[in-house]
Protein backbone atom coordinates (compact mmCIF):
# COMPACT_ATOMS: atom_id res chain seq x y z
CA UNK A 1 0.00 0.00 0.00
CA UNK A 2 1.32 3.32 -1.02
CA UNK A 3 1.08 5.58 1.90
CA UNK A 4 1.11 9.28 2.54
CA UNK A 5 3.23 8.86 5.62
CA UNK A 6 5.93 7.05 3.72
CA UNK A 7 6.07 9.88 1.25
CA UNK A 8 6.20 12.48 3.94
CA UNK A 9 8.97 10.63 5.75
CA UNK A 10 10.87 10.32 2.52
CA UNK A 11 10.63 14.06 1.96
CA UNK A 12 11.50 14.79 5.56
CA UNK A 13 15.04 13.52 5.17
CA UNK A 14 15.68 15.82 2.24
CA UNK A 15 14.33 18.96 3.82
CA UNK A 16 16.15 18.34 7.10
CA UNK A 17 19.33 17.78 5.16
CA UNK A 18 18.90 21.05 3.35
CA UNK A 19 18.43 22.88 6.62
CA UNK A 20 21.32 21.23 8.40
CA UNK A 21 24.01 23.64 9.38
CA UNK A 22 27.40 22.17 8.76
CA UNK A 23 30.60 23.34 10.33
CA UNK A 24 33.80 23.10 8.38
CA UNK A 25 35.77 19.89 8.80
CA UNK A 26 38.81 21.75 10.08
CA UNK A 27 36.82 22.88 13.06
CA UNK A 28 35.55 19.39 13.71
CA UNK A 29 39.06 18.04 13.59
CA UNK A 30 40.43 20.68 15.89
CA UNK A 31 37.66 19.80 18.28
CA UNK A 32 38.63 16.16 18.01
CA UNK A 33 42.21 17.01 18.77
CA UNK A 34 41.08 18.96 21.74
CA UNK A 35 39.25 15.96 23.15
CA UNK A 36 42.53 14.15 22.98
CA UNK A 37 43.98 16.31 25.64
CA UNK A 38 42.67 14.61 28.71
CA UNK A 39 41.90 17.82 30.47
CA UNK A 40 38.41 18.86 29.62
CA UNK A 41 37.67 22.23 30.86
CA UNK A 42 34.16 23.29 31.01
CA UNK A 43 34.11 26.80 29.83
CA UNK A 44 31.45 28.82 31.47
CA UNK A 45 28.98 30.17 29.01
CA UNK A 46 29.47 33.55 30.59
CA UNK A 47 33.08 33.78 29.51
CA UNK A 48 31.99 32.98 26.04
CA UNK A 49 30.06 36.23 25.66
CA UNK A 50 31.16 37.63 22.38
CA UNK A 51 32.22 34.17 21.53
CA UNK A 52 29.22 31.99 21.26
CA UNK A 53 28.30 33.68 18.07
CA UNK A 54 28.62 32.94 14.41
CA UNK A 55 30.26 29.69 13.55
CA UNK A 56 28.78 27.78 16.41
CA UNK A 57 25.37 28.50 15.09
CA UNK A 58 24.58 29.77 18.51
CA UNK A 59 22.89 32.98 19.29
CA UNK A 60 22.82 36.14 17.34
CA UNK A 61 24.06 39.58 17.87
CA UNK A 62 20.93 40.16 19.89
CA UNK A 63 23.00 39.68 22.97
CA UNK A 64 25.69 42.24 23.05
CA UNK A 65 29.32 41.71 23.51
CA UNK A 66 31.66 43.82 25.46
CA UNK A 67 30.63 43.12 29.02
CA UNK A 68 33.86 41.28 29.45
CA UNK A 69 35.93 44.39 29.11
CA UNK A 70 35.69 46.70 32.05
CA UNK A 71 37.94 49.45 33.21
CA UNK A 72 40.19 51.62 31.23
CA UNK A 73 39.07 54.75 29.56
CA UNK A 74 36.26 55.14 27.20
CA UNK A 75 37.63 55.66 23.75
CA UNK A 76 37.19 59.10 22.37
CA UNK A 77 35.31 59.33 19.17
CA UNK A 78 32.92 56.58 19.94
CA UNK A 79 29.83 58.29 18.80
CA UNK A 80 27.13 55.80 18.43
CA UNK A 81 25.10 56.50 15.40
CA UNK A 82 23.99 53.02 14.79
CA UNK A 83 20.45 52.40 13.79
CA UNK A 84 17.73 50.71 15.74
CA UNK A 85 18.94 47.24 15.06
CA UNK A 86 22.27 48.01 16.60
CA UNK A 87 20.48 49.23 19.69
CA UNK A 88 21.64 50.49 23.02
CA UNK A 89 25.34 50.00 22.77
CA UNK A 90 27.19 50.89 25.89
CA UNK A 91 30.46 52.31 24.67
CA UNK A 92 33.02 49.69 25.42
CA UNK A 93 36.22 50.56 27.07
CA UNK A 94 39.49 50.48 25.28
CA UNK A 95 40.88 47.76 27.48
CA UNK A 96 42.18 45.87 24.51
CA UNK A 97 43.01 48.98 22.57
CA UNK A 98 46.63 49.83 22.07
CA UNK A 99 47.22 53.36 23.24
CA UNK A 100 47.78 56.14 20.79
CA UNK A 101 45.94 54.50 17.95
CA UNK A 102 42.72 56.38 18.24
CA UNK A 103 43.30 58.55 15.23
CA UNK A 104 39.86 57.91 13.88
CA UNK A 105 39.22 59.47 10.55
CA UNK A 106 35.96 61.27 10.24
CA UNK A 107 34.87 59.42 7.15
CA UNK A 108 34.26 55.69 7.14
CA UNK A 109 37.23 53.77 5.92
CA UNK A 110 35.21 50.64 5.39
CA UNK A 111 31.72 50.53 3.97
CA UNK A 112 29.89 47.25 4.01
CA UNK A 113 26.77 46.76 1.98
CA UNK A 114 24.91 43.77 3.38
CA UNK A 115 22.53 43.67 0.44
CA UNK A 116 25.22 43.64 -2.21
CA UNK A 117 27.48 41.53 -0.02
CA UNK A 118 30.40 43.76 -0.73
CA UNK A 119 32.86 45.65 1.40
CA UNK A 120 34.60 48.72 0.04
CA UNK A 121 37.76 49.92 1.69
CA UNK A 122 38.86 53.53 1.23
CA UNK A 123 42.11 55.27 1.89
CA UNK A 124 42.24 58.48 3.91
CA UNK A 125 41.69 60.59 0.83
CA UNK A 126 38.49 58.80 -0.01
CA UNK A 127 39.75 56.67 -2.87
CA UNK A 128 38.56 53.10 -3.09
CA UNK A 129 41.47 50.83 -2.38
CA UNK A 130 39.77 47.51 -2.54
CA UNK A 131 36.38 45.89 -2.92
CA UNK A 132 35.89 42.62 -1.15
CA UNK A 133 32.99 40.18 -1.49
CA UNK A 134 31.58 39.30 1.91
CA UNK A 135 28.81 37.37 3.57
CA UNK A 136 26.66 38.96 6.27
CA UNK A 137 23.80 37.99 8.56
CA UNK A 138 21.26 35.66 7.03
CA UNK A 139 17.52 36.30 7.19
CA UNK A 140 16.47 36.32 10.81
CA UNK A 141 19.96 37.29 11.90
CA UNK A 142 20.54 40.60 10.14
CA UNK A 143 23.87 42.29 10.67
CA UNK A 144 23.46 45.49 12.68
CA UNK A 145 23.65 48.54 10.48
CA UNK A 146 25.09 51.92 11.34
CA UNK A 147 28.49 53.47 11.82
CA UNK A 148 30.83 51.67 14.14
CA UNK A 149 34.38 52.11 15.27
CA UNK A 150 37.09 49.49 15.17
CA UNK A 151 37.55 48.59 18.79
CA UNK A 152 40.28 46.01 18.58
CA UNK A 153 42.04 43.64 16.25
CA UNK A 154 42.96 40.10 17.01
CA UNK A 155 45.23 37.98 14.91
CA UNK A 156 43.45 34.98 16.25
CA UNK A 157 40.56 34.62 18.63
CA UNK A 158 39.13 31.67 20.41
CA UNK A 159 35.44 31.30 20.64
CA UNK A 160 33.90 28.84 22.98
CA UNK A 161 30.57 27.54 23.97
CA UNK A 162 29.26 24.78 26.10
CA UNK A 163 26.12 24.12 24.17
CA UNK A 164 27.02 20.48 23.92
CA UNK A 165 26.17 20.15 27.55
CA UNK A 166 28.89 17.70 28.36
CA UNK A 167 31.85 19.23 26.66
CA UNK A 168 32.87 22.62 25.57
CA UNK A 169 33.75 23.78 22.13
CA UNK A 170 36.74 25.92 21.71
CA UNK A 171 37.45 27.05 18.21
CA UNK A 172 39.86 29.44 16.64
CA UNK A 173 39.04 32.16 14.18
CA UNK A 174 41.54 34.27 12.30
CA UNK A 175 42.11 37.91 11.38
CA UNK A 176 39.43 39.38 13.58
CA UNK A 177 38.44 43.04 13.44
CA UNK A 178 36.14 43.87 16.31
CA UNK A 179 33.72 46.74 16.16
CA UNK A 180 32.39 48.65 19.12
CA UNK A 181 28.85 49.32 20.17
CA UNK A 182 27.53 45.87 19.56
CA UNK A 183 28.70 45.90 15.99
CA UNK A 184 29.60 42.66 14.29
CA UNK A 185 33.07 41.26 13.98
CA UNK A 186 34.80 41.08 10.64
CA UNK A 187 36.89 37.98 10.20
CA UNK A 188 37.96 35.12 7.98
CA UNK A 189 35.24 32.56 7.38
CA UNK A 190 36.86 30.04 5.05
CA UNK A 191 34.05 27.66 5.89
CA UNK A 192 31.57 29.91 4.11
CA UNK A 193 33.63 29.94 0.96
CA UNK A 194 31.33 30.21 -2.01
CA UNK A 195 28.90 32.59 -0.33
CA UNK A 196 31.07 35.70 -0.43
CA UNK A 197 29.49 38.35 -2.58
CA UNK A 198 26.51 36.13 -3.15
CA UNK A 199 24.65 35.08 -0.08
CA UNK A 200 24.19 36.08 3.53
CA UNK A 201 25.03 33.14 5.63
CA UNK A 202 26.18 34.22 9.09
CA UNK A 203 24.47 34.91 12.37
CA UNK A 204 25.27 38.59 12.06
CA UNK A 205 29.01 38.81 11.71
CA UNK A 206 30.74 39.76 8.49
CA UNK A 207 32.76 37.06 6.83
CA UNK A 208 35.22 37.01 3.96
CA UNK A 209 37.92 34.78 2.65
CA UNK A 210 41.11 34.43 4.62
CA UNK A 211 43.22 36.45 2.26
CA UNK A 212 40.85 39.42 2.37
CA UNK A 213 40.45 39.17 6.13
CA UNK A 214 44.20 39.28 6.55
CA UNK A 215 44.43 42.21 4.20
CA UNK A 216 41.72 44.07 6.10
CA UNK A 217 43.40 43.28 9.39
CA UNK A 218 46.58 44.84 8.10
CA UNK A 219 44.86 47.90 6.67
CA UNK A 220 42.45 49.11 9.31
CA UNK A 221 43.51 50.77 12.51
CA UNK A 222 41.79 50.80 15.83
CA UNK A 223 39.54 53.82 15.79
CA UNK A 224 38.70 53.62 12.10
CA UNK A 225 35.08 54.00 11.16
CA UNK A 226 33.15 51.18 9.60
CA UNK A 227 29.80 51.84 8.05
CA UNK A 228 27.38 48.98 7.61
CA UNK A 229 24.38 49.61 5.45
Amino acid sequence: MHDVIDERLARLGGSLEAAAEVRPPTLVRSRGEEIRSAHRRRVMAVTATSAAVAILGVGSLAFRTGSGHRGGTISPGVSVSSSASAAVAAPSSGATTPSGSTTASAEPVVVIDVKQDTMRVYDKSGQIVKTVPVTAGKPGYPSPVGVFTVKAKQRQATVSSNTIGIDSYSLRIDWVVELDAGGPWLYAMPFFDGTFGKENRTHGHIGMNTESAQWLYDHVAVGDRVQIQ
Binding site: V4, I5, G14, S15, L16, R23, V28, N162, G165, I166
Partner: protein, 170 residues
Protein backbone atom coordinates in the same frame (compact mmCIF):
# COMPACT_ATOMS: atom_id res chain seq x y z
CA UNK B 1 45.69 10.61 0.71
CA UNK B 2 46.32 12.17 4.08
CA UNK B 3 44.14 11.17 7.00
CA UNK B 4 42.92 14.75 7.14
CA UNK B 5 41.65 14.68 3.59
CA UNK B 6 40.24 11.25 4.11
CA UNK B 7 38.32 12.39 7.15
CA UNK B 8 37.15 15.61 5.52
CA UNK B 9 35.77 13.67 2.62
CA UNK B 10 33.98 11.29 4.92
CA UNK B 11 32.65 14.15 7.01
CA UNK B 12 31.46 16.32 4.15
CA UNK B 13 29.93 13.35 2.41
CA UNK B 14 27.83 12.22 5.32
CA UNK B 15 27.30 15.01 7.82
CA UNK B 16 24.15 16.43 6.28
CA UNK B 17 22.42 13.10 6.14
CA UNK B 18 23.43 12.14 9.65
CA UNK B 19 22.37 15.52 10.97
CA UNK B 20 18.98 15.21 9.29
CA UNK B 21 18.51 11.78 10.82
CA UNK B 22 19.48 12.95 14.28
CA UNK B 23 17.15 15.94 14.04
CA UNK B 24 14.33 13.52 13.30
CA UNK B 25 15.41 11.21 16.11
CA UNK B 26 15.89 13.92 18.71
CA UNK B 27 13.32 16.44 17.60
CA UNK B 28 15.61 19.39 18.05
CA UNK B 29 17.82 20.82 15.38
CA UNK B 30 20.30 22.59 17.62
CA UNK B 31 20.80 19.63 19.90
CA UNK B 32 21.12 17.28 16.97
CA UNK B 33 23.68 19.45 15.23
CA UNK B 34 25.76 19.71 18.37
CA UNK B 35 25.62 15.98 19.05
CA UNK B 36 26.55 15.17 15.47
CA UNK B 37 29.49 17.57 15.46
CA UNK B 38 30.72 16.11 18.69
CA UNK B 39 30.40 12.59 17.32
CA UNK B 40 32.43 13.48 14.24
CA UNK B 41 35.05 15.11 16.44
CA UNK B 42 35.32 11.86 18.35
CA UNK B 43 35.55 9.97 15.09
CA UNK B 44 38.55 12.10 14.16
CA UNK B 45 40.02 11.57 17.59
CA UNK B 46 40.21 7.83 16.81
CA UNK B 47 40.14 8.02 13.04
CA UNK B 48 42.64 5.20 12.74
CA UNK B 49 40.14 2.65 13.91
CA UNK B 50 36.92 4.34 12.83
CA UNK B 51 38.10 4.68 9.25
CA UNK B 52 38.64 0.95 9.07
CA UNK B 53 35.14 0.08 10.19
CA UNK B 54 32.67 -1.44 7.79
CA UNK B 55 30.26 1.38 8.40
CA UNK B 56 31.80 4.49 9.96
CA UNK B 57 28.59 6.42 9.36
CA UNK B 58 26.70 4.07 11.58
CA UNK B 59 29.35 4.50 14.25
CA UNK B 60 29.01 8.27 14.14
CA UNK B 61 25.24 8.08 14.26
CA UNK B 62 25.28 5.79 17.27
CA UNK B 63 27.77 7.99 19.09
CA UNK B 64 25.76 11.11 18.33
CA UNK B 65 22.63 9.42 19.62
CA UNK B 66 24.37 8.34 22.81
CA UNK B 67 25.84 11.76 23.36
CA UNK B 68 22.39 13.17 23.28
CA UNK B 69 20.87 10.54 25.49
CA UNK B 70 23.64 10.89 28.04
CA UNK B 71 23.21 14.61 28.10
CA UNK B 72 19.49 14.44 28.69
CA UNK B 73 20.00 14.57 32.40
CA UNK B 74 21.82 17.82 32.12
CA UNK B 75 19.18 19.18 29.81
CA UNK B 76 16.98 20.75 32.43
CA UNK B 77 19.88 22.53 34.01
CA UNK B 78 21.06 23.67 30.67
CA UNK B 79 17.73 24.94 29.48
CA UNK B 80 18.13 28.18 31.34
CA UNK B 81 21.56 28.95 29.95
CA UNK B 82 20.45 27.72 26.60
CA UNK B 83 17.63 30.22 26.50
CA UNK B 84 19.95 33.01 27.43
CA UNK B 85 22.79 32.18 25.08
CA UNK B 86 21.46 29.53 22.82
CA UNK B 87 19.85 29.36 19.47
CA UNK B 88 16.96 31.78 19.17
CA UNK B 89 14.50 29.24 17.90
CA UNK B 90 14.27 25.63 16.98
CA UNK B 91 13.97 24.62 13.38
CA UNK B 92 14.16 28.09 11.89
CA UNK B 93 14.58 27.17 8.27
CA UNK B 94 12.03 24.43 7.91
CA UNK B 95 8.75 24.18 6.13
CA UNK B 96 5.58 23.80 8.20
CA UNK B 97 5.17 20.22 7.03
CA UNK B 98 8.66 19.34 8.15
CA UNK B 99 8.14 20.97 11.51
CA UNK B 100 4.84 19.14 11.94
CA UNK B 101 6.42 15.83 11.11
CA UNK B 102 9.34 16.34 13.46
CA UNK B 103 6.94 17.34 16.19
CA UNK B 104 4.84 14.25 15.52
CA UNK B 105 7.91 12.03 15.67
CA UNK B 106 8.78 13.54 19.00
CA UNK B 107 5.48 12.30 20.37
CA UNK B 108 5.96 8.64 19.61
CA UNK B 109 8.09 6.38 21.82
CA UNK B 110 11.81 6.85 21.45
CA UNK B 111 12.73 3.34 20.34
CA UNK B 112 10.04 3.39 17.68
CA UNK B 113 11.11 6.79 16.50
CA UNK B 114 14.71 5.70 16.16
CA UNK B 115 13.72 2.65 14.17
CA UNK B 116 11.49 4.69 11.88
CA UNK B 117 14.20 7.23 11.20
CA UNK B 118 16.81 4.59 10.45
CA UNK B 119 14.50 2.68 8.16
CA UNK B 120 12.67 5.48 6.39
CA UNK B 121 15.18 8.33 6.44
CA UNK B 122 18.52 6.58 6.52
CA UNK B 123 17.24 3.86 4.23
CA UNK B 124 18.65 0.97 6.24
CA UNK B 125 17.27 -2.52 5.98
CA UNK B 126 15.56 -4.11 8.98
CA UNK B 127 18.72 -6.12 9.60
CA UNK B 128 20.89 -3.03 9.51
CA UNK B 129 18.55 -1.22 11.87
CA UNK B 130 18.69 -4.22 14.19
CA UNK B 131 22.48 -4.18 14.14
CA UNK B 132 22.64 -0.48 14.86
CA UNK B 133 20.21 -0.40 17.75
CA UNK B 134 21.28 -3.75 19.14
CA UNK B 135 17.89 -5.44 19.04
CA UNK B 136 16.61 -8.56 17.24
CA UNK B 137 15.13 -8.05 13.79
CA UNK B 138 11.73 -9.17 15.02
CA UNK B 139 11.75 -6.46 17.65
CA UNK B 140 12.72 -3.88 15.08
CA UNK B 141 9.86 -4.91 12.83
CA UNK B 142 7.44 -4.56 15.69
CA UNK B 143 8.81 -1.15 16.56
CA UNK B 144 8.52 -0.07 12.97
CA UNK B 145 4.93 -1.06 12.51
CA UNK B 146 3.84 0.22 15.91
CA UNK B 147 5.77 3.40 15.45
CA UNK B 148 4.25 3.95 12.08
CA UNK B 149 0.77 3.40 13.38
CA UNK B 150 1.46 5.75 16.28
CA UNK B 151 2.80 8.35 13.92
CA UNK B 152 -0.23 8.09 11.71
CA UNK B 153 -2.42 8.56 14.72
CA UNK B 154 -0.51 11.57 15.97
CA UNK B 155 -0.58 13.14 12.56
CA UNK B 156 -4.23 12.17 12.40
CA UNK B 157 -5.02 14.36 9.47
CA UNK B 158 -8.31 13.82 7.80
CA UNK B 159 -7.78 12.51 4.33
CA UNK B 160 -4.70 10.53 5.25
CA UNK B 161 -5.70 7.15 4.04
CA UNK B 162 -4.55 3.94 5.52
CA UNK B 163 -3.71 5.38 8.90
CA UNK B 164 -4.73 2.16 10.54
CA UNK B 165 -3.21 0.04 7.86
CA UNK B 166 -0.27 -2.12 8.72
CA UNK B 167 2.71 -1.59 6.63
CA UNK B 168 4.71 -4.70 6.07
CA UNK B 169 8.40 -4.41 6.81
CA UNK B 170 10.43 -6.96 5.00
Amino acid sequence: MTPERDFDEFYLGSVRKVTAQLVAMLGDQGEAEDAVQEAYARAWQRWDSVSRMDDPVSWVRVVAYRIKVSSWRAAVRRTVAHRRHGPPADLPDLSPDTVALVAALRRIPETQRRAIVLYHLAGLTVEQVAAEVGAPAGTVKARLSRGRAALAQVLGEPGVDGVKGRHSYA
